[in-house]
Protein backbone atom coordinates (compact mmCIF):
# COMPACT_ATOMS: atom_id res chain seq x y z
CA UNK A 1 0.00 0.00 0.00
CA UNK A 2 1.54 3.25 -1.16
CA UNK A 3 -0.06 6.33 0.38
CA UNK A 4 2.62 8.82 -0.65
CA UNK A 5 1.85 11.63 -3.03
CA UNK A 6 3.88 11.90 -6.24
CA UNK A 7 5.35 15.15 -7.53
CA UNK A 8 5.29 14.61 -11.27
CA UNK A 9 7.89 17.12 -12.48
CA UNK A 10 10.31 16.15 -9.70
CA UNK A 11 10.10 12.52 -10.82
CA UNK A 12 11.57 13.51 -14.21
CA UNK A 13 14.88 14.24 -12.48
CA UNK A 14 15.24 10.48 -11.94
CA UNK A 15 14.91 9.59 -15.63
CA UNK A 16 17.97 8.89 -17.76
CA UNK A 17 19.02 11.45 -20.41
CA UNK A 18 18.42 11.41 -24.16
CA UNK A 19 15.46 12.21 -26.39
CA UNK A 20 13.24 9.43 -25.02
CA UNK A 21 12.89 8.31 -21.44
CA UNK A 22 10.03 6.60 -19.60
CA UNK A 23 9.48 5.62 -15.97
CA UNK A 24 6.59 4.18 -13.97
CA UNK A 25 5.44 6.43 -11.09
CA UNK A 26 2.20 4.86 -9.87
CA UNK A 27 -0.24 2.01 -10.26
CA UNK A 28 -4.06 2.13 -10.11
CA UNK A 29 -5.65 -1.34 -10.20
CA UNK A 30 -4.07 -2.92 -13.29
CA UNK A 31 -3.18 0.44 -14.89
CA UNK A 32 0.17 2.20 -14.77
CA UNK A 33 1.03 5.90 -14.70
CA UNK A 34 4.27 6.58 -16.56
CA UNK A 35 6.20 9.79 -17.01
CA UNK A 36 7.55 10.29 -20.52
CA UNK A 37 10.09 12.77 -21.87
CA UNK A 38 10.24 12.79 -25.64
CA UNK A 39 11.70 14.82 -28.49
CA UNK A 40 11.66 13.86 -32.16
CA UNK A 41 9.50 11.52 -34.22
CA UNK A 42 8.12 8.33 -32.75
CA UNK A 43 6.96 5.43 -34.94
CA UNK A 44 3.49 4.84 -36.36
CA UNK A 45 1.77 2.19 -34.27
CA UNK A 46 -1.53 1.19 -32.71
CA UNK A 47 -2.58 -0.55 -29.51
CA UNK A 48 -5.07 -3.19 -30.64
CA UNK A 49 -6.21 -3.94 -27.07
CA UNK A 50 -6.53 -0.61 -25.29
CA UNK A 51 -7.09 3.15 -25.26
CA UNK A 52 -4.08 5.22 -24.16
CA UNK A 53 -4.08 8.59 -22.38
CA UNK A 54 -1.51 11.41 -22.58
CA UNK A 55 -1.65 14.33 -20.12
CA UNK A 56 0.81 17.07 -21.12
CA UNK A 57 2.91 18.56 -18.32
CA UNK A 58 5.40 20.64 -20.34
CA UNK A 59 5.92 21.47 -24.01
CA UNK A 60 3.85 20.35 -26.97
CA UNK A 61 3.00 16.90 -28.28
CA UNK A 62 2.01 16.74 -31.94
CA UNK A 63 -0.18 13.65 -32.18
CA UNK A 64 -0.36 12.51 -35.77
CA UNK A 65 -3.30 10.41 -36.89
CA UNK A 66 -3.74 9.17 -40.47
CA UNK A 67 -6.48 11.73 -41.13
CA UNK A 68 -5.56 14.63 -38.84
CA UNK A 69 -2.98 16.12 -36.48
CA UNK A 70 -3.74 17.32 -32.95
CA UNK A 71 -1.37 19.63 -31.03
CA UNK A 72 -1.57 18.92 -27.32
CA UNK A 73 -0.07 21.54 -24.98
CA UNK A 74 0.74 21.57 -21.26
CA UNK A 75 -2.52 21.39 -19.30
CA UNK A 76 -4.27 19.42 -22.04
CA UNK A 77 -4.91 15.69 -22.46
CA UNK A 78 -5.86 13.33 -25.26
CA UNK A 79 -7.15 9.75 -25.29
CA UNK A 80 -5.93 7.73 -28.27
CA UNK A 81 -8.66 5.17 -28.96
CA UNK A 82 -7.93 1.46 -29.08
CA UNK A 83 -6.74 0.31 -32.49
CA UNK A 84 -6.20 3.80 -33.97
CA UNK A 85 -2.83 4.38 -35.66
CA UNK A 86 -0.87 7.29 -34.22
CA UNK A 87 2.63 8.76 -34.24
CA UNK A 88 3.68 11.15 -31.45
CA UNK A 89 6.10 13.89 -32.53
CA UNK A 90 7.66 16.91 -30.88
CA UNK A 91 10.13 19.38 -32.35
CA UNK A 92 11.01 21.02 -29.04
CA UNK A 93 10.21 18.14 -26.72
CA UNK A 94 7.51 17.44 -24.16
CA UNK A 95 6.99 15.95 -20.74
CA UNK A 96 3.80 13.95 -20.27
CA UNK A 97 1.98 11.58 -17.97
CA UNK A 98 0.93 8.43 -19.82
CA UNK A 99 -1.87 6.19 -18.52
CA UNK A 100 -2.61 2.71 -19.85
CA UNK A 101 -2.92 -0.89 -18.62
CA UNK A 102 0.29 -2.42 -17.28
CA UNK A 103 2.13 -4.50 -19.87
CA UNK A 104 1.14 -2.44 -22.92
CA UNK A 105 4.09 -2.24 -25.31
CA UNK A 106 5.17 1.36 -26.05
CA UNK A 107 5.27 0.69 -29.79
CA UNK A 108 2.05 -1.32 -29.80
CA UNK A 109 1.78 -3.68 -32.77
CA UNK A 110 5.21 -2.66 -34.16
CA UNK A 111 8.51 -3.90 -32.76
CA UNK A 112 11.70 -2.02 -33.59
CA UNK A 113 14.52 0.08 -32.18
CA UNK A 114 12.11 2.31 -30.22
CA UNK A 115 10.52 -0.69 -28.46
CA UNK A 116 11.14 -0.82 -24.71
CA UNK A 117 11.06 -4.35 -23.34
CA UNK A 118 11.00 -3.16 -19.76
CA UNK A 119 10.16 0.13 -18.02
CA UNK A 120 11.56 0.78 -14.54
CA UNK A 121 9.86 2.51 -11.62
CA UNK A 122 11.28 5.91 -10.74
Amino acid sequence: MRLEKINLLEKFEQLPGGNYAVGVVAKMNDYEFKIVRFKGDFVWHRHPETDETFILLEGTLVMNFRDRTVEVHAGEMIVVPKGVEHKPSSGNGYKALLIEPAGVLNTGDIQGEMTLQRIEWV
Copy 2:
Protein backbone atom coordinates in the same frame (compact mmCIF):
# COMPACT_ATOMS: atom_id res chain seq x y z
CA MET B 1 -14.36 7.88 -31.49
CA ARG B 2 -13.25 11.13 -29.91
CA LEU B 3 -9.88 12.39 -31.11
CA GLU B 4 -10.14 15.91 -29.72
CA LYS B 5 -7.75 17.11 -27.06
CA ILE B 6 -9.18 18.34 -23.76
CA ASN B 7 -8.05 21.52 -22.03
CA LEU B 8 -8.56 20.67 -18.38
CA LEU B 9 -8.77 24.12 -16.78
CA GLU B 10 -11.06 25.41 -19.55
CA LYS B 11 -13.46 22.55 -18.83
CA PHE B 12 -14.00 23.88 -15.31
CA GLU B 13 -15.80 26.89 -16.79
CA GLN B 14 -18.63 24.52 -17.73
CA LEU B 15 -19.17 23.22 -14.19
CA PRO B 16 -21.97 24.58 -12.01
CA GLY B 17 -21.10 26.85 -9.05
CA GLY B 18 -20.87 25.96 -5.36
CA ASN B 19 -18.27 24.25 -3.19
CA TYR B 20 -18.52 20.89 -4.96
CA ALA B 21 -18.87 20.26 -8.66
CA VAL B 22 -17.90 17.27 -10.81
CA GLY B 23 -18.03 16.61 -14.56
CA VAL B 24 -16.82 13.82 -16.83
CA VAL B 25 -14.32 14.96 -19.49
CA ALA B 26 -13.00 11.73 -21.02
CA LYS B 27 -13.23 7.97 -21.08
CA MET B 28 -10.36 5.43 -21.41
CA ASN B 29 -11.62 1.85 -21.80
CA ASP B 30 -13.99 1.45 -18.82
CA TYR B 31 -12.39 4.28 -16.81
CA GLU B 32 -13.59 7.87 -16.56
CA PHE B 33 -11.66 11.12 -16.19
CA LYS B 34 -13.62 13.62 -14.09
CA ILE B 35 -12.81 17.20 -13.19
CA VAL B 36 -13.61 18.08 -9.59
CA ARG B 37 -13.79 21.45 -7.87
CA PHE B 38 -14.07 21.14 -4.10
CA LYS B 39 -13.84 23.27 -0.98
CA GLY B 40 -14.64 22.15 2.56
CA ASP B 41 -14.79 18.75 4.21
CA PHE B 42 -15.93 15.68 2.33
CA VAL B 43 -17.19 12.55 4.12
CA TRP B 44 -15.16 9.57 5.31
CA HIS B 45 -15.67 6.74 2.85
CA ARG B 46 -13.90 3.92 1.03
CA HIS B 47 -14.21 2.32 -2.39
CA PRO B 48 -14.28 -1.41 -1.69
CA GLU B 49 -13.83 -2.32 -5.37
CA THR B 50 -11.20 0.03 -6.77
CA ASP B 51 -8.19 2.32 -6.39
CA GLU B 52 -8.88 6.01 -7.11
CA THR B 53 -6.46 8.62 -8.49
CA PHE B 54 -6.39 12.38 -7.85
CA ILE B 55 -4.16 14.65 -9.95
CA LEU B 56 -4.09 18.20 -8.53
CA LEU B 57 -4.45 21.03 -11.05
CA GLU B 58 -4.90 24.01 -8.69
CA GLY B 59 -4.88 24.54 -4.94
CA THR B 60 -4.29 21.98 -2.20
CA LEU B 61 -6.13 18.77 -1.35
CA VAL B 62 -5.69 17.57 2.22
CA MET B 63 -6.24 13.81 2.00
CA ASN B 64 -7.07 12.46 5.44
CA PHE B 65 -6.45 8.80 6.17
CA ARG B 66 -7.15 7.21 9.56
CA ASP B 67 -3.43 7.06 10.37
CA ARG B 68 -1.99 10.03 8.49
CA THR B 69 -2.70 13.14 6.42
CA VAL B 70 -1.18 13.89 3.02
CA GLU B 71 -1.21 17.40 1.49
CA VAL B 72 -1.38 17.18 -2.28
CA HIS B 73 -0.56 20.35 -4.23
CA ALA B 74 -0.93 21.35 -7.89
CA GLY B 75 1.40 19.19 -10.00
CA GLU B 76 1.15 16.27 -7.60
CA MET B 77 -0.98 13.11 -7.63
CA ILE B 78 -2.05 10.44 -5.18
CA VAL B 79 -3.59 7.00 -5.61
CA VAL B 80 -6.01 6.06 -2.82
CA PRO B 81 -5.84 2.26 -2.56
CA LYS B 82 -8.93 0.10 -2.82
CA GLY B 83 -10.74 -0.28 0.48
CA VAL B 84 -8.79 2.41 2.37
CA GLU B 85 -10.89 4.95 4.28
CA HIS B 86 -10.23 8.54 3.25
CA LYS B 87 -11.74 12.01 3.60
CA PRO B 88 -10.72 14.77 1.16
CA SER B 89 -10.63 18.26 2.66
CA SER B 90 -9.59 21.70 1.45
CA GLY B 91 -9.72 25.01 3.30
CA ASN B 92 -9.08 27.16 0.24
CA GLY B 93 -10.39 24.82 -2.42
CA TYR B 94 -8.80 22.74 -5.15
CA LYS B 95 -9.30 21.72 -8.76
CA ALA B 96 -8.36 18.14 -9.59
CA LEU B 97 -8.57 15.45 -12.23
CA LEU B 98 -10.07 12.26 -10.81
CA ILE B 99 -9.54 8.88 -12.50
CA GLU B 100 -11.47 5.73 -11.61
CA PRO B 101 -13.68 3.11 -13.25
CA ALA B 102 -17.00 4.38 -14.61
CA GLY B 103 -19.87 3.87 -12.19
CA VAL B 104 -17.89 4.31 -8.98
CA LEU B 105 -19.99 6.21 -6.44
CA ASN B 106 -18.32 9.42 -5.24
CA THR B 107 -19.04 8.60 -1.60
CA GLY B 108 -18.09 4.93 -1.98
CA ASP B 109 -19.65 2.74 0.68
CA ILE B 110 -21.49 5.66 2.33
CA GLN B 111 -24.68 7.23 0.98
CA GLY B 112 -25.71 10.67 2.16
CA GLU B 113 -26.24 14.27 1.13
CA MET B 114 -22.87 14.43 -0.68
CA THR B 115 -23.71 11.40 -2.84
CA LEU B 116 -24.07 12.17 -6.55
CA GLN B 117 -26.40 9.75 -8.30
CA ARG B 118 -25.35 10.96 -11.75
CA ILE B 119 -22.39 12.91 -13.11
CA GLU B 120 -22.78 14.74 -16.43
CA TRP B 121 -20.24 15.14 -19.21
CA VAL B 122 -18.87 18.65 -19.64
